[in-house]
């Protein structure tokens, strides 16, 4: 075991060491900040592209105005269809499930047991 020798001399930090450490820290800070900046910019670029694309898609539709002319018969047909549709609607459905019981009388002619197993024997 060696004896403890702790120097405490701030003069040991020369200008080179000081520059290295501060520059190193600044580079790390700059790198991560640059990455953060890139990501933030990416979001705004992406949003810009999206809005432009949306604008492009909607432009032709708005450029050509469509003149809608409806006759009385068409109006009547739509109104009748809507009336029938809404009169069919229920506010609340019945949540009751019914199972219809079906009873069949036994017959050897329709018995699976005889049919399947007898055939199997022949094979």
């Amino acid at each position: 075991m060696r004896t403890l020798f702790i120097a405490f001399d701030p003069r040991l930090i020369d200008s080179h060491t000081l520059i290295v450490s501060i520059l190193g820290y600044c580079i790390v800070l700059f790198t991560l900040s640059a990455m953060a900046y890139l990501m933030v910019r990416f979001h705004s670029v992406r949003d810009f592209i999206r809005t432009r694309r949306l604008k492009k898609e909607t432009k032709p539709a708005s450029a050509v105005p469509v003149k809608v002319v409806m006759t009385g018969e068409e109006n009547a047909a739509i109104a009748a269809a809507l009336y029938l549709f809404f009169s069919e609607l229920h506010d609340q459905e019945k949540y009751v499930m019914t199972i219809k019981k079906v009873s069949r009388t036994y017959s050897p002619w329709s018995s699976k047991f005889y049919n399947i197993f007898n055939n199997m024997k022949h094979w």
């Binding site: 120097a7 001399d9 820290y25 790390v28 990455m35």
Partner: protein
């Protein structure tokens, strides 16, 4: 005559046993190893890291006759432990662990809120302060760099930097001394990683008010798959161009992440993030532990390294918190950051993020900070790896 022969035989056997070669320093190290095992199991302090490390300390300090005809100790060339230690000495294990780490972490919190990344850089102030502190205390510049990197709270980066410094110094007498630092530096870094729940909360409480701890952060947006694939590539290019010396770590890290995010190499990502990383943790733990042979490890320098390492870790924690508070001055009210997550700027993933979350939950059980804290935490890994690369470039 026969009695003499038998006595000689027994004397020979006795001389070979650990009991006859036991010195007090070996005994101390064995007790340290046993204490760490108890600590890891009883208090659940990162047992995955601490148990292999502690068992390694016990194994490395079993006394034996140094004049054995077969190589035995970890420093004896040709011994099995020495071959396993090769991966540490050459920085192979840390690089491969980074690969697994990359495949494990999700970069979404960082992509969703990029400004939190700066906290990961801010926490690197611990490395800067300790680097200067170690030089003031008389450590040579390469030693100071190895000690300072403990503040990054990442044992792998610490091992990588120390091994690369030793390799870079090559035939200089300094190289052997730097290589000897791997054990103490790695033990200190891993120990402080395990002691995150003990070291960080008092500093977090001291530097924040209750009002600040109650700050609720805006929920994070969803990150698209394209972003998850594109950003690791952008990060890789940027960091590798800034600090090419850290390429073995960052290259592997982002490669692992791309394996995960591509969605088409799930099998590879699964292997590196589970089986491979487990094997590497076992190997790195046991060999770094065994490298703490009392005659190499038990020195005053080691104690000083532990003290400086703790200081570095504490300054890094404080740096992150203070930087978050400074950022809050410039941010709008709705975008404010809970300063607790600044403490997660150290690279101890995910422990420091979890601690930030738990501290926030103590004040308000409905405030979930974990996803926000993961952003500076991952940035801390990247930041400490970049710092290691820059230190390598500056010193060598």
């Amino acid at each position: 005559m026969k009695l003499l022969l038998i006595t000689n035989l027994f004397q020979g056997i006795w001389a070979d046993t650990g009991f006859s070669n036991l010195y007090w320093d070996n005994g101390i190290m064995i007790l340290v190893g046993l204490a760490l095992i108890v600590l890891a199991i009883k208090f659940n302090l990162k047992p995955i890291l601490l148990i292999p490390l502690a068992v390694g300390i016990v194994i490395g300090n079993i006394p034996f006759m140094h004049s054995t005809p077969y190589p035995l100790g970890i420093y004896a060339e040709g011994s099995i432990l020495h071959y396993l230690f090769f991966g540490v000495l050459k920085g192979i294990y840390p690089a491969l662990i980074f690969l697994g780490l990359g495949a494990m972490v999700d970069l979404s919190p960082m992509i969703a809120n990029p400004k939190l990344m700066i906290l990961g850089a801010a926490a690197q102030v611990g490395i800067l302060v300790t680097f200067l502190g170690a030089i003031i205390l008389g450590f040579p510049i390469a030693h100071a760099a190895s000690i300072a990197i403990i503040g990054g709270a990442d044992g792998n980066t610490a091992i990588f930097l120390t091994s690369q410094l030793a390799a870079g110094l090559k035939n200089l007498p300094e190289a052997a001394k730097v290589q000897g630092l791997i054990g103490p530096v790695a033990i200190a870094a891993y120990l402080y990683m395990a002691l995150v729940p003990v070291i960080q909360p008092p500093i977090m409480k001291l530097l924040t008010t209750r009002k600040e701890r109650l700050i609720r952060m805006k929920p994070q947006r969803t990150v698209s798959r394209n972003e998850k694939i594109a950003f690791p590539l952008v990060f890789l290019l940027l960091t590798a161009f800034v600090a090419p010396a850290s390429l073995p770590l960052l290259g592997m890290f982002f490669f692992g992440n791309i394996l995960k995010e591509s969605g088409l190499t799930k099998q590879l990502a699964g292997t590196v993030s589970t089986v491979m990383i487990d094997i590497l943790v076992i190997l790195i733990g046991i060999t770094v532990g065994a490298s703490t042979q009392a005659d190499v490890f038990l020195k005053w320098e080691s104690i000083l390294i532990f003290v400086l390492g703790a200081l570095s870790f504490m300054v890094a924690t404080a740096g992150g918190i203070i930087f978050a508070k400074v950022m809050n001055i410039f941010l709008k009210k709705e975008n404010r950051i809970n300063p607790l997550i600044g403490a997660a700027g150290v690279a101890a993933v995910p422990d420091s993020a979890r601690i930030a979350h738990e501290m926030g939950q103590k004040e308000d059980s409905t405030n979930h900070l974990i996803s926000h804290a993961m952003a500076p935490n991952i940035a801390g890994i990247i930041g400490s790896a970049v710092t290691a690369g820059l230190l390598l470039a500056f010193i060598l």
